[in-house]
């Protein structure tokens, strides 16, 4: 006798929402678990209920897409079991451990779609832990979600599409943007144009932001790398360099980021196999084009399993939903909006576009080699590049998990989110290995910090018969 399906979707950004929509269209009622208070993920993050700005003001060119995704979820609310403010912190034996309002409980699943999204990919520079330095995504959240600028004189330093988007959003909202420092060279961006045209609309937006910023007199520098942020208690100025030498900008806030990194901890805990992506220069969970992971009935969609952007996240969410339906041999909807083949074609184009992005947006040259010993890398544990190099040398650590055990990098509250890519780059550099070879920091439960709380399920505390150590 077949048991009823218990599909669960983790994440309510574009991927999670389209996955939910797809499952509902096929007669299922998934649980949708959302760490945030309201659906939308990061890119289509909704401001708190009492905020007044329109979609156009919040999402600009993406307003129509945002509205479509957000209203799709709104109309699904009565047809799914939506669990906001709920953190998935562990997975074991077909069950998820969740934390909601300080209490832990368990969610059963038979099928799981993991759509956990991404955070900024950070390459530290000296002084980056000073108050006033925020991630690129963080700067965007400040504006979108709270109506604030991160400072009175903001410098944007990094690379990737977010760089120009957020700088543009800030300038448009009336913030004082001192400069945009792009670590990529303009010539690289020109070379990338043919690949970028695979997503002509997206490319056009990027060009628009750049042109708009220039037209409004905001200084844009290419091949520009931050060297040091200085200030006694908070940011007061930024030293940066380009081919012409070092420069100084008076500022009180810096937004930084070099693309995105996948939140793949849940996939890791579930036992999904990872593969090294040359395009992203990092390990990501392995999946087929439909989003099937290497674990049966676990699907991966959106930036949580490789950075492909918001549009691709929507397609991936839909594809994952369709794959789940197919694998469970449920009735396929013949009038489904987009066929799997079409979706797959879009995704392929996005992959080609992604290659263009890698070409267009590059890390500071020799970032690892140029990073001074006294630069803090792990901000949680306050471990410097020098500590990392010294530990690798004295312990012979060749793998990033061994390095972590030896010098504590990645052992803090954020469990390597902020320092992971930088640590991999530093270890690869000082041990003369590729990024692939040094490995990746493994996900461990809890995925984010959890409080000491009694579980409702825990009854009598009976003593063990064994003491150890």
């Amino acid at each position: 006798m077949t048991q009823p399906l218990k599909p669960v979707i983790v994440g309510a950004g574009p991927a999670g929402i389209r996955a939910a929509q797809t499952l509902v269209a096929h007669g299922l009622r998934p649980i949708v678990i959302d760490e945030s208070a309201r659906w939308g993920g990061q890119i289509y993050r909704q401001a708190p209920g009492n905020f007044a700005r329109s979609s156009k003001q919040l999402y600009g060119f993406d307003a129509r897409k945002a509205d479509a995704v957000l209203s799709a979820m709104e109309s699904l609310l009565s047809k799914v079991d939506y669990r906001p403010n709920t953190l998935v912190w562990n997975a074991e034996g077909g069950q998820l451990d969740v934390l909601h309002e300080g209490h832990t409980s368990v969610v059963d699943y038979t099928d799981l779609i993991v759509a956990t999204g991404a955070t900024d990919r950070i390459l530290p520079f000296k002084g980056w832990t000073l108050p006033g330095v925020f991630s690129m995504g963080g700067a965007q959240v400040a504006l979108k979600f709270q109506g604030c600028a991160i400072g009175q004189k903001v410098v944007f330093a990094g690379s990737g599409p977010l760089l120009y988007l957020v700088a543009y959003q800030y300038a448009k909202a009336g913030a004082n943007v001192m400069a945009v420092l792009d670590s990529s060279h303009f010539s690289q961006q020109i070379k990338a144009v043919p690949s970028l045209l695979n997503q002509a609309a997206v490319f056009a937006k990027g060009v628009y932001y750049l042109a708009w910023l220039k037209a409004h007199g905001i200084a844009i520098h290419h091949g520009a790398t931050p060297i040091e942020v200085m200030g006694t208690q908070s940011v007061e100025k930024l030293i940066w360099r380009n081919s012409q030498g070092p420069h100084e900008i008076d500022c009180d806030a810096v937004a930084t980021g070099y693309g995105l990194r996948s939140e793949s901890q849940l996939a890791d805990i579930l036992g999904c196999k990872f593969v090294f992506s040359n395009a992203e220069n990092s390990w990501i969970p392995q999946k087929d084009l439909a989003g099937r992971s290497t674990i049966k009935h676990v699907y991966l969609a959106g930036d949580g399993a490789g950075i492909q952007g918001a549009d691709a996240a929507e397609w991936a969410g839909e594809l994952a939903g369709l794959a789940l339906i197919e694998d469970r041999q449920l009735q396929q909807q013949t009038n489904h909006s987009t066929s799997s083949e079409e979706l797959a074609k879009y995704l392929q184009k996005r992959i080609a576009f992604g290659r263009g992005l890698s070409m267009a947006f590059q890390d500071p040259q020799n970032w690892a080699r140029q990073t001074t010993d006294d630069t803090v890398i792990c901000r949680c544990e306050e471990i410097t590049a020098g500590d990392i190099r010294q530990s690798a040398q004295s312990t012979g650590a060749q793998d990033v998990n061994r390095l972590k055990a030896m010098c504590r990098v990645g052992m803090g509250r954020c469990q390597g989110r902020m320092c992971g890519p930088a640590t991999e780059a530093l270890l690869a550099d000082c041990t003369h290995q590729s990024i692939e070879k040094v490995g990746r920091l493994r996900g461990q439960a809890p995925i984010k910090p959890i409080p000491f709380v009694p579980s409702p399920a825990l009854k009598n505390i009976t003593p063990d018969t064994e003491e150890a150590n």
């Binding site: 069950q95 000491f452 009694p454």
Partner: protein
């Protein structure tokens, strides 16, 4: 193209704290050593355990070894060239009932000849000394010179010291086969390396049965997995390493402020990896808050587990093989091998070079299992 065989005085299977300290001790005795480790030295149980460096609470037959180890730990910085966060914080074993307290008093009496310096306190006295203990503490036994260290640092440090002393360490290398003839042992590795030695030390921890079976002395060892958790850095309040009589949890606080807490059981993902179970995590956290109310608002930032070998009597196997001359075992520490590991290493080096050791180890003989197994095989032999 084949790699030429290597020869040495002593081959060691397993690069945990026991194998590596044996390698170091053998080098000091001038013996050539090749150690083969499947993963990285000190990366398994020796590297992921709680970190308690504790004599109190051990069975009496372990105490001579524990005392020998205590002297080694005293000179750890000189031995390893690093302090590895070792501190003699004191180890307090908590009683949660009068019956438990009576057990602690009984142990104090029995252990008296071994000079652990145990002191019994009432719950009231303990809360005066350590106000961070809750009312659930009825009493306790304090061993002032016991303490804790960072196992992630200690065990690899033994490996490095052994290597610097001239031991050849082969990491990421698995022993695939071992043969014995009257010239000694021939090991074959996953890297197609042949190693020949007249003496073999089986320090393969939770996986030591593989070696024992090769020499017809299988032991009934089972794997078990603790649940470990660590908090965010907290203001330092816990000045002791804690255990609980009758089982429960063990907890310590590092100098940086993280509280390391362990207890209960996890589960195996596969032969090599383990994970804490959700019930165990909840249980361990709940029990910790019961005893240490200051943890009430703290966050747990990471959990982990490991694989430890348990024999039915929870005592290790240490000593010569029952079947094969030149083979010596040191494994199966039932989750309590960290403190005594360095002494076991020294004992194995004495056995390997002189055939005897000054520390009493008869109670750990592998022979204690042979009668059980031979009676089983006899019974099976009788079946049609």
């Amino acid at each position: 193209m084949s790699i030429s065989p290597l020869s040495c005085d002593v081959a060691i299977v397993g690069g945990g704290i026991v194998g590596c300290s044996a390698a170091l001790a053998l080098r000091k005795l001038g013996k050539s050593v090749i150690l083969i480790e499947r993963d990285l030295c000190g990366s398994r149980s020796s590297g992921v355990n709680y970190g308690g460096v504790r004599r109190q609470g051990r069975s009496l037959i372990q105490l001579p070894l524990a005392q020998r180890a205590h002297a080694i730990w005293a000179k750890l910085p000189e031995l390893l060239g690093a302090a590895c966060e070792y501190t003699r914080s004191g180890h307090l074993k908590i009683a949660r009932s009068e019956a438990d307290l009576a057990s602690l008093i009984a142990y104090q009496e029995k252990a008296e000849p071994f000079g652990l310096g145990l002191q019994i306190y009432s719950g009231h006295q303990l809360r005066e000394l350590y106000p961070w203990l809750s009312e659930r503490v009825v009493g306790g036994s304090l061993c002032a010179e016991d303490g804790h260290a960072n196992p992630r640092l200690v065990s690899p440090a033994f490996a490095r010291a052994a290597s610097q002393a001239g031991a050849q360490l082969m990491e990421n290398t698995q022993v695939i086969d071992i043969e014995y003839s009257n010239t000694g042992f021939t090991l074959k590795t996953s890297t197609d390396q042949i190693i020949k030695a007249p003496v073999l030390l089986n320090c393969a921890g939770a996986w030591a049965s593989f070696v024992a079976e090769k020499f017809n002395e299988a032991v009934p060892m089972v794997a078990a997995h603790p649940t470990m958790a660590v908090t965010e850095p907290l203001p330092v309040f816990m000045s002791l390493s804690l255990g609980v009589q009758g089982g429960g949890i063990y907890a310590r606080q590092t100098q940086r402020g993280n509280c390391v807490i362990g207890g209960s059981r996890g589960f195996a993902l596969d032969e090599l990896r383990a994970r804490p179970s959700r019930e165990a995590i909840q249980l361990v956290l709940a029990r910790s808050v019961e005893l240490l109310p200051q943890l009430k608002h703290a966050n747990i930032i990471r959990t982990w587990s490991g694989t430890e070998g348990y024999l039915p009597d929870h005592e290790p196997v240490i000593g010569p093989s029952r079947t094969t001359p030149g083979l010596f075992h040191g494994f199966g520490f039932a989750g309590a091998g960290f403190q005594i590991g360095p002494a076991v290493g020294e004992v194995l080096s004495e056995l390997a070079t002189q055939g005897k050791t000054s520390t009493p180890i008869d109670g750990f003989s592998i022979s204690r299992f042979s009668r059980v197994l031979s009676s089983i095989t006899t019974t099976l032999g009788d079946l049609p």
